[in-house]
């Protein structure tokens, strides 16, 4: 696609429910990142995928958070048993390679946990 696509753009859920957030990176980009941004704050790194290598999961805040990247393309971030503090904008970005190139961001998913 022309850019990084994230869905849904907004998600409202009840505390305790599971949610899945989707990211479609730019075609041909081998690196994919997930970040979390709380209101008025900077970006918090969550997880990084590069090709077929094991992902860097060091930023995931708890075992309720997990992510997959199928076929080296689409990625899904899953949050189980959501809590109110999970409310934030979840941003996905992709880049061309491990050469730490420029990251291209999606518009994000705004998650609200009631």
């Amino acid at each position: 696609g022309a850019g990084v696509s994230q869905s849904p753009s907004n998600k409202v859920t009840e505390k305790g429910k599971d949610v899945e957030l989707r990211c479609d990176p730019i075609s041909g980009h081998t690196a994919l990142y997930w970040y979390r941004q709380s209101l008025g704050q900077g970006l918090e790194f969550l997880i990084y995928f590069q090709g077929n290598s094991a992902p860097d999961k060091s930023g995931l805040p708890s075992d309720r958070f997990s992510a997959e990247r199928t076929g080296g393309s689409v990625s899904t971030l899953t949050i189980q048993r959501t809590q109110q503090e999970d409310s934030a904008v979840y941003l996905c970005a992709s880049s061309q390679s491990t050469a730490k190139n420029i990251q291209y961001f999606g518009a994000g998913t705004r998650l609200s946990v009631l």
Binding site: V4, A31, Y33, Y35, Q37, L39, Q41, G42, L43, F45, Y48, Q50, D56, S58, G59, V89, L91, A93, T98, K100, I102, Q103, Y104, F105, G106, A107, G108
Partner: protein, 112 residues
């Protein structure tokens, strides 16, 4: 702890004035990037400066990097109302995997 920290946290200027934002970081880096974010949504890349570069220009943007002080500045000249946004610096550390570290950002407001 956060690698990049911007200052000021917020900046309000008149259209036509210059805006300067600063970023400090803690560990050695491969490169430093500046991004812009409108309305709390996706970030847009502005400029990348490598660790062996000291200054870079792109249109009305000028970025400097001082690796001895572990700091960078972003200057926007002749600001416009459309420059109103949040600006983030992001560093790629030499060690620590592929984790790009973003600062908390500077919120710039340009008054018409």
């Amino acid at each position: 702890s956060q690698q990049g920290e911007e200052d000021p946290q917020a900046l309000s200027i008149q259209e036509g004035e210059n805006a300067t934002m600063n970023c400090s970081y803690k560990t050695s880096i491969n490169n430093l990037q500046w991004y812009r974010q409108n309305s709390g949504r996706g970030l847009v890349h502005l400029i990348l400066i490598r660790s062996n570069e000291r200054e870079k220009h792109s249109g009305r943007l000028r970025v400097t990097l001082d690796t001895s002080k572990k700091s960078s500045s972003l200057l926007i000249t002749a600001s416009r109302a459309a420059d109103t946004a949040s600006y983030f610096c992001a560093t790629d550390p030499l060690t620590g995997g592929f984790k790009t570290i973003f600062g908390a950002g500077t919120r710039l407001f340009v008054k018409a």
